[in-house]
Symmetry: C2
Subunit: 227 residues, 2 copies
Amino acid sequence: MKVAIIGKGNLGSHLHNALQPTCDMQWYGREFPTTIDADIVIVSVSDDATLKVISDVHAPFVVHTAGAVAMANLERTGVFYPLFSFTKEAVVQWKDIPFLLECSREEDMPVLEEITRLIGARAFHITSEQRTKLHAAAVMVNNFTNHLYTLAKEHCQHYDLPFEVLHAIMRQGPDKAIALGPKTAQTGPARRGDDRTIKHHLEQIQDPTTKALYELLSENIKKRYEL
Amino acid sequence: MKVAIIGKGNLGSHLHNALQPTCDMQWYGREFPTTIDADIVIVSVSDDATLKVISDVHAPFVVHTAGAVAMANLERTGVFYPLFSFTKEAVVQWKDIPFLLECSREEDMPVLEEITRLIGARAFHITSEQRTKLHAAAVMVNNFTNHLYTLAKEHCQHYDLPFEVLHAIMRQGPDKAIALGPKTAQTGPARRGDDRTIKHHLEQIQDPTTKALYELLSENIKKRYEL
């Protein structure tokens, strides 16, 4: 397959490396020809620049990798979005990474699926509308959980306690939730209805915001499990 | 070293297996002799039964493994608490697991450290008072994050979207937070001050509780990063 990638950033580089062994590649940075001869052009630039680049390039089939950007309004276009947070140095385990695929013409879907297969990743057919809904869920499981780590770390620092003793259960959390389902995996004082421990913890938490969140989340868990 | 374990549950079994190769072991379930000849007796029973078993057994040095139970009021006693959630089938990676150690006599600490070393785990000196503070932080990084997974899964189910596309970033979350520190690792619309996306997400979230949490956590993140 003839593949062109526009974008030499983090994701662009990872995609280029992954497709290099099996595809006839073209790879462009800020400078790219306006007309590109390829089966697919993958635009992997910043969110803000995405639609501009797509409108500048002329090619049979142009897709982008920006999760927060809706599919372009073109005859043959699509979205090729890996739902993952890429870092430059880390080795990417492609087999674990889901690609959310969308295209304006159903006939182009096999191209997206084939590329996903060549990378060794997993393909999911997701419309732009579904993608924004998944994005809200991604914020919950990623951004909000990370914020709880921040609050917990600050709590530890306040009492001069080593945050690293929590690393093991932090790492274990997603694995357990995925293996058992999060509802079954739920544990803790709120799940048990252990109000004494909750009260005790609230007395120890100094930061008012953290305290409010502790209280709301505990109430929420209790309600959900009808305690 | 002569080690006795009381308790044939999940943790008791894992500890027994780990110490078996290097220690002179005794292992008891519900029936145990009132007098035990060992360098250390590890009581690994349910939280509720812990203090009762400790008061029933006569041995030079008796410790327990219950994170939520304060150290017993005895002359030579202690706490030997692995901060981790053990499951029967899973293979335990001891080297990642922190043991929170405490004892009434400073002279007994080397025994607890030696056992931790024999298991291949990491030792931390933590008093009962510090332990309850760490417990509050553990609730945040483990129980509350798991609850967010539950809410995100329900959100996906409501829209008939595959929750599994989120598995990869769920698994990545703790690793990134540990590698970079959670404050640096924070991303997402609230971190960027992207109010349009937040508003959009809030419109899509059906469950009122999830909506309230989304709002509070977003506000909280924005405030923390002075947006």
